[in-house]
Amino acid sequence: MNSEVNGKRCNSILIVEDEKGIQEILKMALEMEGYQVFTADNGKEGLELLPKMPTPCLILLDLMMPVMNGWEFAEALSKEMTLATIPVVIVTAYGERAESIPSKGVLKKPIDLDALLRIANEWCEQWCNGKRG
């Protein structure tokens, strides 16, 4: 955590979540841990945001969203060579139909904060180490 990659700190996380309340609390919790958090209200915004932000070490992805849902976002993401390897953790209320997305895990709502932070730490470290290595 907090390690730098190519002069940039390797601690960006992208949250793609339409529910503002969840979006904000996730952001707050992660920022309190020192992550640089970017938020998008739906898949489309997320995709648009990705080139403008530091490459995230983790994407927290909601499934049920307007405009572009989580599945569509994951699909689009997998087609981008540079982005396809970014770890994606799904944040959902029901854990349904999450299997179709090649994710690193599922966080069930209401989200257990400890689990969230553990996952964020785990994947970001792996990602950043991988990049460095």
Partner: protein, 731 residues
Amino acid sequence: MNSIHRERNKDPTKTLGRNFIGKMLPFVFLLVLISVIFSLSRNSIIKSIPIVVLVQLTTIFILGYILRNSYVELNRVETKHKLELERRSDYEKLFNLSSDMICMATFDGHFKQVNSAFERILGYSSKDLLERPFLEFVHPDDYERTKEEFEKLIMGIGSVDFENRYLSKDGTYKVLGWTSSVMKDEGIIFAAARDLTKMKHANEEMRKAYDFVEAILDNVPNMIFVKDAQDLKFLKFNKAGEELLGFKKEDLLGKNDYDFFPKNEADFFTSKDQEVLKGKKVFEIPEETIQTKDKGSRVLRTKKIPVFNADGSPRYLVGISEDITEFKKINEERTRNEFALKRASLINGLIRYSLDGVVGMNVEGVITSWNSQAEKIFGWSEAEALGKDLASLIIPHEYREAHSIGLKKFLLTGIGPILNTRIELVGLRKGEVVFPIELTVIPIPDNHGWLFYAYVRDISDRKIIEQHQKNLLQQEHLAREAAEQSVAMRDDFLSIAAHELKTPLTPISMQLQLLERSLNKVTSTDSFSINKNLLEITKNSKKEVDRLARLIDELLDVSRISAGRLTLHKRKTILNDLIKQVIDRHLNLNVKVVNGIHLDVKEGLTGYWDASRLESVIENLVTNAIKYGEGKPIEIKAWQSGDTVIILVKDQGIGICDEDQKKIFQKFERAVSVKKFSGLGLGLYISRKIVEAHGGVIKLASKVGHGSTFRIELPIERYEETNPDPLSIST
């Protein structure tokens, strides 16, 4: 004849001597002459005998010869005459010796000579017979014929076997059979006659006897036949037999059964006949059916009687057959009638005491039975109904034609679709009231064709009830539809509500977690006590939020199950991990698990299940065990048995009574009172549904005061190896 007579009347030795001397004489004479000539010429001794003596001797011989010849001739004539006389006497004897009548007659119609047989047979003297013209003796009925025959004789035509009757002296007539020849030139008729009277009489007697037997045979109404024992050909057939079989005697006699019957029948009859002849006793065939020429098939009762020769060999087979066709028919008819009578009385009883209205009808559609129930149903008394046309009395106008057509059709074809089955129709009651009836019509064969019996029930009341029930059913149906609709609405609402409730719950829960985390970090001693209170409040709030979230989840699950929307998302799941996560979570939550949880889970229990839902099932059972376990140890076991994984969750708590056990897996059921333990009581219902959706079962064994054991039997389904192995993260 002549020579015989001669031989019989002369002396043979005499005749022989005479002939010898006669024949020798010329030779003796010639010898003497030669001797004389010789002596004259040579011999002296002979020369000494004088010539005169020789001449004298010669003369004597010649004279002797002549004398002898005369004697012979005389003797011959005498003998001839004598023979003639003898012959006449023979003829006379023969003539008179004949037992047949022999006569000569002249063309003038008189006997010229008759033999003694005439006198003996007819009783007249020959004188009487010769005096009168013989036609006078002829029976007046035979006169003309006799005259004609006589005239033929005169014309030179002989006659053989001519019969007529001659009056005898005692006034009786004798039957004579004549053979006559004629010597036309001499005008003489020779005739011989034989007295046929006795023979005729005997013949007549025989004929009478025969006629007698024939008359008896022909008047016997039974067929009588006689067969030859050897070839079984018919020798005799009486009139009844002719009439029965339809063949004339002439057609039958000399033939056997094979000439009249089909081979199989003939074989049968012949074998029977042979049996009878072999068995040597009367054989009775109580019933046999034969095909006759004109009378069709007839049933016979036959007795066969073997008749034997003196030596015991079979001679005839006599058959007596009685045609019992009619008798049998009558007998059967009687039996039928008796049966019909019995049946009629039975039917009457059945009709009279039937709880249904019974109406009987004949083929003309006329009412033949009408019981007291029918009186009640239709309002007509038995006296009023009997003999009436059924259709006009109890069938409403619009159905009468169909009734008539149906009846005709049945009588023609035997097809009656409404017969023998329970049908609902309408009937007509006295006063032209149409009302619903239920009936079954039964056709019963009868001497006159058919009788129809209708069992009738007035179903007016039932119809009202049925209508009422129908209305109720309809109402119930509508109510159910409405209820189902409202249930669906409720489920929809529940689903939406749960979803909506859960949405803000996530950030609240997270904020509380964050708050708790933040408070834990604060180390200021001044505010420690405050922080401690805040931390406590936060923890409690978080616990309530978790409970709220769980309740909402349950509600959501139930609404999904109710709407049939419970879908499983199966993937490879390691049961050991699931159980461990559930236990860890409980231990982390610091729940009062005083004596701990004993785990006995076999390694490597893996299946293709919906991990998230299966976890919630185990979670539910463990929560319950803790909740109702009274702090006593909880046991969790899992092992594989064949294609099934078995999970046991056992507590030693308050237990569940039998009655509650039955409904504990139902919706909104909870074994304990609301006061003691909160919750919606949906957990076990959801668990059951989830296990069942996996093809498994969940069972409960419990005893009040001793605890409960929940047992899940879960089929191990094959999972697809190609599926990636996603990381399971529990919350």
